[in-house]
């Protein structure tokens, strides 16, 4: 079976990533876009593009009928869901297959089973994979959830059963907070996933989040591609991921890899997936618990690509077309150290408030070992409707300290102006002694927040630059009124050397 034309049911950097992978192997790509994304980078890059609806996700990127219609109208033979949106929606996978499109991901029933925290847990327990104590009460009233929290024992996490990415999730430390937090989690769950079912589990205090990439084909081959350490999170949203994890010994890595492979086999998995674990404490015998299985490509897949040298999206296309996995377990090795930093349009100083607006100036860093995945360009306007991820900066170097140095240099060479981003915040994480020592857990950002927020005085040099650029007043016009000559400003002051 050969794929000829793939519809990419996503937007932003991941849509571009998939479009480029298709182009390399001669597969045509079809982009979809909402009214907020007319002229967006992923639309320009694809071989064809189809409008699927107005800006709100439920009317466009989350609309199964609109996307299927686009697939039919454009003559696609397969659909790649990316991550987020419909990527873990079993109904969508099923509808694709029913309409005759190859769904580039696992079978719909696997998505369904692993998407239900209850079913996934049961499966893992049966497969001998360790799990965190917890339950999904049959009584799904707020009172029923509160009762379940009491049984599991505080502190607990209340989570959307259909969810992911921290949406619809709340930490509840005691019975008195429960009603308000349960209600908030429910509202977000309904808004984000259309399903308000909630799940309660014991909160493992300050665990590490360590996940294993797995890959399976239709011939029973299952491999793991080692771990990603994703402990640096804010509001349960990953911010920095790396591989290898500073916490794993060779033996612990092997045991976690084996557990992930067992989980994949138990699930009857196919294509790329990730088994997320919580790792509690340090050392050879630190316990780990199955957290969930992400039945899709992860945002942070470039970290794995960097250290293993494989192309996960190419392998997805190969396996979706009925091909065999291109690698055997004993051919796979980690080499060097990779770190991914997520560049968000957000203001860390204002509670990580997402930012929308124009990218007046946007210049990506370059250099050996520096990879930038992005879906935006200078001059674009970041819409309010979607995830605030602008770009992913992934660095690969020989050692972890060199990777940190490389990432820091790249961030200092990544100017984004017009909207606030977390770039200064990321730099302070990289410079933090605890991060540099590899002492990170999911509480890292909260524990060090005041240090990480900085709040630098404005240096005189910055004011001087602003003053010079302020010479000519005027409306929004991008790179600072400073053109390289001839410009009135340059001419006036005799600059330009």
């Amino acid at each position: 079976m050969t794929l000829r034309r793939v519809l990419v049911a996503n937007r932003g950097e991941i849509a571009l990533r998939i479009i480029r992978a298709c182009r390399e192997r001669g597969i045509e790509s079809v982009a979809v876009y909402s009214d907020a994304d007319v002229g967006a980078a992923h639309v320009t890059a694809a071989d064809a593009s189809v409008r699927i609806g107005p800006a709100p996700p439920r009317d466009s990127y989350l609309s199964i009928p609109a996307i299927l219609e686009a697939a039919r109208g454009s003559g696609a033979d397969a659909v790649h869901p990316g991550y987020g949106f419909l990527s873990e929606n079993a109904a969508f996978a099923r509808a694709c297959e029913a309409a005759g499109f190859i769904f580039i991901g696992p079978p719909a029933d696997v998505i369904e089973r692993m998407g239900s925290k209850i079913a996934a847990r049961a499966l893992m327990i049966a497969a001998g994979v360790p799990v965190v104590p917890g339950r999904t009460p049959e009584d799904q009233t707020d009172a029923g959830i509160a009762a379940a929290a009491n049984e599991v024992g505080y502190p607990v996490l209340v989570k959307a059963s259909a969810g992911g990415g921290g949406k619809g999730m709340r930490t509840v430390r005691g019975a008195s907070d429960a009603p308000a937090l349960i209600a908030a989690a429910r509202r977000e769950a309904v808004a984000a996933f259309g399903d308000g079912t909630l799940y309660v589990e014991r909160l493992i205090e300050r665990p590490r989040h360590v996940e294993i990439q797995i890959f399976c084909d239709a011939f029973g081959h299952v491999v793991h591609l080692f771990e990603r350490e994703c402990s640096v999170q804010r509001r349960h949203q990953k911010v920095i991921e790396e591989s290898p994890s500073p916490a794993l010994t060779a033996d612990l890595r092997a045991r976690m890899g084996d557990a992930a492979v067992a989980a994949a086999r138990a699930a009857g998995y196919r294509n790329a997936g990730t088994v997320e674990f919580l790792l509690h404490g340090d050392g050879e015998s630190a316990p780990f618990y199955f957290l969930e299985m992400n039945t899709r490509l992860q945002v942070e897949h470039p970290v794995t690509e960097a250290v293993t040298g494989v192309d996960l999206v190419q392998a997805q296309l190969t396996v979706a077309a009925g091909g065999a996995l291109p690698w055997r377990q004993n051919e796979l090795r980690q080499r060097g150290h990779a770190i991914e930093l997520r560049i968000y349009a957000e203001d860390p100083g204002a509670g990580f408030l997402p930012q929308a607006g124009p990218l007046l100036l946007y210049r990506e860093p370059r250099g050996p070992g520096v990879r930038v995945d992005s879906g935006v360009r200078e001059g674009d306007r970041i819409p309010i409707e979607y995830d605030p991820l602008l770009a992913k900066l992934t660095v690969l170097a020989e050692t972890r300290p060199q990777a940190i140095d490389r990432a820091s240099a790249a961030l200092r060479d990544f100017p984004v102006l017009g909207i606030r981003t977390n770039i200064p915040f990321l730099l302070r994480i990289l410079a933090h002694p605890a991060f540099q020592a590899g002492h990170v857990d999911t509480g890292f950002i909260d524990a060090h927040l005041s240090t990480l927020l900085g709040g630098a005085e404005v240096p005189q040099e910055a004011v001087a630059v602003a003053a010079a650029a302020a010479g000519d007043a005027g409306a929004e016009r991008g790179p600072g009124g400073l053109s390289r000559s001839p410009s009135p400003w340059t001419a006036l002051s005799g600059w330009g050397r």
Partner: protein, 153 residues
């Protein structure tokens, strides 16, 4: 002379005819444009900075930090800190819920209303103890950045 505001702090900048700039009557800082939006700043070889303008706002990226400065119109300057101003929407958002009514007494940190943007809930909290003077939005309203939501005193 030019006034640039960052937060509640005003800086007085003097652009000299030789292209240097003095801040608050300090020693002149050399500047050199080296490309579109690119500036070399400081004595010796200086540091690389990037700059962009939007309306009266000047954005500067320098050594991994971002600074947002507002070029003040000398004739119509706003006061440096607006005590008890209206709470405004920080970005385009949808109002999920309003928890207070005019006349309500609130404590610092109390949630006044909840916005939703980019699929995240954003509680808007009272910046200080006070009394709600006016509520200027309703649930389901779409609000733009800078639009007043609640007035307190």
């Amino acid at each position: 002379m030019l006034i640039l505001r960052a937060g509640d702090r005003d800086y007085k900048a003097t652009v000299h005819t030789d292209g240097t700039v003095s801040i608050d009557d300090g020693s002149p800082i050399p500047l050199r444009a080296t490309g579109a939006g690119l500036v070399r700043v400081g004595s010796g070889s200086g540091q690389q900075a990037w700059v962009a303008a939007s309306g009266s706002t000047r954005w500067v990226f320098l050594n991994g930090e971002v600074f947002e400065l507002d070029a003040q119109d000398a004739r119509r300057r706003r006061p440096a800190a607006t005590a008890h101003a209206a709470l405004v929407a920080p970005m385009p958002a949808t109002v999920v819920r309003v928890d207070v009514a005019p006349g309500a007494t609130v404590r610092k940190g109390d949630t006044l209303l909840i916005l939703e943007a980019m699929k995240m809930e954003l509680p808007i909290r009272a910046p200080a103890d006070g009394v709600v003077r006016a509520v200027l939005c309703r649930a389901r309203d779409l609000v733009k950045p800078g639009v007043p939501l609640v007035e307190m005193e």
